[in-house]
């Protein structure tokens, strides 16, 4: 929290900050995600760049007051462009002892803690595992502590509402998250009009609830303004973002919108078949609300039916998409092999979570890369595309559709739990400038009949795509299936040479995709770097932040990020070979590193952490420095 200080008109000190990290933490039922979302919206309106990190338990309502039930939301905002939700919070709002216990260690030394002191009862302290009261035993000496009775202040603010019988005491207490939000909004000079408008709209059917929440929000703001306890308040100036219109967007939302855009830009109706699974379900929710775009969403009886329905829709000429997470993708594997064999365009999204098995449903991981690349029987190559940031999920979805439609193949699109739920500002694209997906394919028709015969596996000489001959087209009646096809005719074939040829053709089609990829972008402002950091997926933010930090300290470090995991870019081998040291951080145990080592024979330094959390930029910077130069300065 680097700062400059100026005097405030009301004898307060307004501190100018370049950036700040705020973490809201409380019980699952305390409304922390909601408070965090609203703080994010306010921050966006204030013009800062931002990144968020929601973190919540897999249980919908773990026992109240326990460590297991703590839910948190972190926001990093800045007057510069930023890439991560921040490492150590500057401010922690702890709604109960369990939240303090779980999150205090993360707070930077000297940081600010706002405690809901009403929740610090003997019983709650016990539940959180405190033997003595942390407010009194010296636990908090390194921090600036504000003990605020958030619950009692809320009740006092809503006294009249309770007297009028509009809500009972319990309902009134629920507004304490809004009181906390109001206080933090004051601390950081955030405008609260957006939140007021949002509350009015959310509770339009129950205006008394809207009024109670708005009253609590304003009470929180006024508490900050009038209480002398808060000597400082802060301002983070607007970030210098490229000109344009912006909104905040989460990865799942951006991915959903990318699919809609692919449908609009290809002219194909979108069919989305899926089975609910964390953290992918939001995509189903988003798309099911967009029926006006002609999108059919189908909540299938299981993961296999979901992908099966998509194959059926793709056969019929729709843009078919299914999404799941690792466990669900495992169930879809056989059908994905069928899609490879029948060479039909579709997208299979994996919003990765911690594994193996049920693993960590609400946490993030990158450990399904090998599953995406190899998780099918037989030689079954398919393209794999990964998104790097929440907003990038939009472009990655369009790219997945482009490859699927151009080359008539199922494509795996990798996101993860971090991208899915995190938000960042997104500059709205110009629709007309999005890729034209209508020109990359055509449905087969009578032109494709030669000498009275239609050959469903006669390939385009350039892309090796087979014709997309949809039912309803006279003269093109044909049968496809999972049994090996005869080259050209598509008839069942058990002939040895044919199987070898078809296997190689399926691989060659991947090579043709690589032929058409743009050159790999390497970020090296100095032009003199001899250390390269390679990443893929959601490590983009932490790697960008870490390399920027290292450059600021004089280390010449280059960086590249891989969108296409299969086929890999053709120029990647030479790029990797041209650096003294190549470092690859992954939230797995070195899957891409293994692949690149085998392919390039470059002695890649793998850095792995599998904690269910994204890398922190600081940790990454230290590691890169050690691996790259042998010491940390």
């Amino acid at each position: 929290m680097s700062s400059t200080v100026s005097d405030d008109a009301r004898e307060r000190t307004m501190v100018q900050l370049s950036s700040a990290v705020v973490r809201f933490a409380g019980d699952s039922g305390d409304g922390m995600q909601l408070a965090g979302d609203q703080f994010t919206n306010q921050t966006a309106v204030a013009g800062n760049d931002l990144a968020t990190l929601p973190d919540f338990p897999a249980e919908i309502r773990a026992p109240a007051g326990t460590l297991a039930g703590v839910s948190s939301f972190q926001l990093h905002f800045s007057d510069q462009d930023i890439h991560t939700p921040g490492d150590a919070p500057d401010v922690l709002i702890a709604m109960n002892p369990a939240a303090l216990m779980k999150h205090l260690a993360a707070l930077r030394s000297g940081g600010t803690v706002i405690l809901n002191t009403d929740a610090f009862t003997k019983r709650n302290l016990q539940k959180a595992g405190y033997e003595t009261d942390p407010r009194e035993d010296g636990t908090l000496t390194d921090y600036q502590v504000h003990e605020v009775g958030l619950t009692s202040l809320t009740l006092r603010a809503l006294e009249e509402h309770i007297e009028r019988g509009e809500l009972n005491k319990k309902e009134a207490e629920r507004s304490k998250n809004m009181l906390a939000l109001g206080l933090v909004s004051w601390m950081f000079s955030r405008p609260i009009q957006e939140t007021v408008a949002w509350l009015e709209s959310k509770f339009s059917a129950r205006p008394e609830l809207a009024d109670a929440n708005i009253t609590a929000l304003r009470a929180g703001w006024n508490y900050g303004e009038t209480t002398e306890a808060f000597v400082f308040h802060y301002e983070v100036k607007e970030a210098k973002l490229p000109p344009g219109r912006y909104r905040n967007i989460t990865g799942n939302q951006a991915l959903s919108y990318g699919l809609v855009a692919a449908s609009v830009r290809s002219g194909l109706p979108l069919f989305y078949g899926s089975y609910p699974i964390t953290p992918a379900s939001d995509i189903l929710h988003e798309l099911s609300a967009l029926k006006r775009f002609g999108i059919s969403t189908f909540q299938a009886e299981d993961e296999i039916a979901a992908v099966g329905s998509v194959i059926g829709a793709a056969f019929g000429g729709a843009l078919g998409v299914t999404a799941s997470s690792g466990p669900g993708i495992a169930l879809k594997a056989e059908a994905m092999g069928l899609a490879v064999m029948t060479e039909l365009p579709m997208i299979v999204v994996n919003v990765q979570r911690g594994g193996p098995s049920t693993g960590l449903p609400t946490k993030t991981e990158q450990s399904d890369l090998f599953q995406a690349l190899y998780g099918r029987n037989g030689e079954a190559p398919l393209p794999v595309v990964a998104a790097g940031s929440p907003a990038d999920c939009f472009d990655a979805a369009i790219e997945a559709a482009r490859i699927a439609l151009t080359y008539r193949t199922p494509v795996v699109l990798l996101s993860d739990g971090y991208l899915a739920n995190s938000a960042e500002p997104w500059r709205l694209p110009v629709i007309e400038e999005l890729p034209d997906l209508a020109s990359v394919f055509r449905f087969a028709d009578e032109q494709d009949i030669t000498d009275g015969e239609f050959l469903p596996y006669l390939r385009d000489p350039e892309t090796l795509a087979r014709p997309w001959a949809v039912p309803g087209t006279p003269g093109l009646e044909h049968r496809v299936g999972g049994i090996e096809k005869e080259d050209g005719t598509g008839h069942i074939s058990y002939e040895p040479e044919n199987h070898h040829r078809m296997t190689m053709l399926r691989h060659e089609r991947m090579a043709r995709i690589a032929d058409a990829l743009p050159p790999t972008d390497v970020d090296d402002p100095s032009g003199e770097a001899d250390v390269l950091v390679v990443g893929w997926g959601s490590t983009l933010g932490p790697i960008r932040a870490a390399t920027r930090d290292l450059r600021a300290r004089g280390r010449n470090v280059a960086r590249t990020h891989i969108r296409h995991l299969n086929p890999l870019p053709k120029d990647l081998d030479d790029i990797l070979r041209s650096y003294r040291r190549v470092i690859l951080p992954e939230n797995n145990v070195g899957q891409l590193a293994t692949l690149l080592r085998a392919r390039t024979l470059v002695d890649i330094q793998s850095y792995n952490r599998v904690s269910g959390q994204p890398f922190s930029a600081g940790e990454l910077a230290r590691t890169i420095e050690t691996l790259g130069w042998g010491d940390a300065s």
């Binding site: 000109p243 219109r245 069919f271 329905s309 059926g312 019929g316 309803g472 006279p474 044909h478």
Partner: protein, 344 residues
């Protein structure tokens, strides 16, 4: 789906138009041949068109069916045909979608998809060829094999109770449930015609003889000297009687189950067949008259009721959304929610 050409000439189609150039490769004597011939002959009579007809299958002997049809076809993976057919039916209301499955494919590995396609009332026709055996994998017992079946995998006899496919379909509240026999061409044609004309999911169990691994499983219903004693032919609106001279009748017990009684004793207690009853209870009771068909067994249409069809309802929702909210506007969608402008 602009740009697709659908021919609408009234030229008279024949069986040949529904026959592919592929050599049929079932074992000589397989019941599948008879079913294939019936379907290929019936479709032109129904006014179907090859380009607008799709056969989707899973894995098993029966699932080779699509290869022999001169229509569009998809030979998918084990048990999943109803799932593929669902995606196709939702997105392509202009097509006739048929599923061909077997007792292993449809009731064992694919049981889940079958029941859900039926309860949703997808607009698809499901033909389940029941031969009470796994043929393609060479003779293991199937989920419809009788208890105690001594087969390759059950040398001491099978110990799991078989499923009754018609009971299962009725339990899922399928809107059209019927049963027929591979070689009874006339009866099978009538049942398939009714299935084709039904709106929503139709389920037809076809007793099909596997002459290699389970020959004679349906002899009670097929042998000339037995069949008249055992076939209970269900006819809409008719009293349910059977026997060479109609000497047996079906009557209802007080608890709702059914039993066979001499017709002359049954009097006006003979059940009048009504497949259009909304409650599947009576149809279910009929289905319980026989399990593995070694005795009197109902064939024909058990149930045919009119209920909303899933894919139609889904398309209605799309139309309603457009009517209420207007056609989707991508730029408006992307710019929805809180936006702000950054100027240079």
């Amino acid at each position: 789906m602009g740009g697709r050409v659908v021919t609408t000439t009234d030229s008279k189609l024949t069986r040949k138009d529904f026959t592919s150039d592929r050599e049929v490769r079932w074992c000589p004597g397989c019941g599948d041949y008879a079913i294939l011939a019936t379907v290929q002959t019936l479709l032109p009579e129904l006014g179907a068109r090859p380009e607008s007809t799709v056969f989707v299958s899973g894995i098993g002997c029966s699932s080779r069916f699509p290869y022999y049809m001169g229509t569009y076809g998809f030979h998918s993976i084990h048990g999943r045909a109803p799932a593929l057919a669902t995606g196709l039916a939702i997105t392509r209301p202009d097509l006739d979608v048929w599923v061909v499955t077997g007792d292993g494919d449809g009731l064992s590995i694919g049981g889940n998809h079958l029941i859900h396609a039926l309860r949703r009332n997808m607009d698809i026709n499901i033909l389940l060829f029941n031969n009470e055996i796994y043929g393609l994998t060479k003779g293991q017992y199937s989920p419809t094999s009788p208890l105690g079946s001594v087969k390759k995998s059950t040398p001491m006899g099978s110990i799991d109770r078989p499923l009754n496919p018609v009971s299962l379909a009725l339990g899922a509240e399928a809107t059209f449930v019927a049963r027929s026999i591979d070689t009874d061409r006339k009866h099978l044609s009538e049942v398939l015609r009714a299935a084709y004309e039904h709106r929503g999911a139709s389920f037809v169990e076809i007793y099909q003889n596997c002459n290699v691994f389970n020959d004679g499983a349906f002899a009670a219903l097929k042998d000339p000297d037995q069949r008249d004693h055992n076939q209970i032919r269900l006819v809409d609106g008719e009293p349910i009687t059977f026997g060479p001279n109609g000497e047996h009748a079906i009557v209802a017990r007080g608890d709702g189950t059914m039993k066979v009684k001499p017709t002359e004793e049954a009097g006006d207690r003979v059940v009048i067949h009504d497949p259009t009853k909304d409650e599947p209870t009576t149809a279910f009771a009929l289905a319980r008259l026989s399990h593995n068909p070694v005795g009197p067994t109902p064939i024909g249409v058990f149930r045919a009721v009119d209920r909303p069809v899933y894919d139609e309802l889904l398309r209605e929702q799309l139309a309603a959304a457009r009517e209420q909210q207007g056609e989707g506007d991508l730029a408006a969608l992307l710019g929805s929610g809180n936006v702000w402008d950054v100027v240079s």
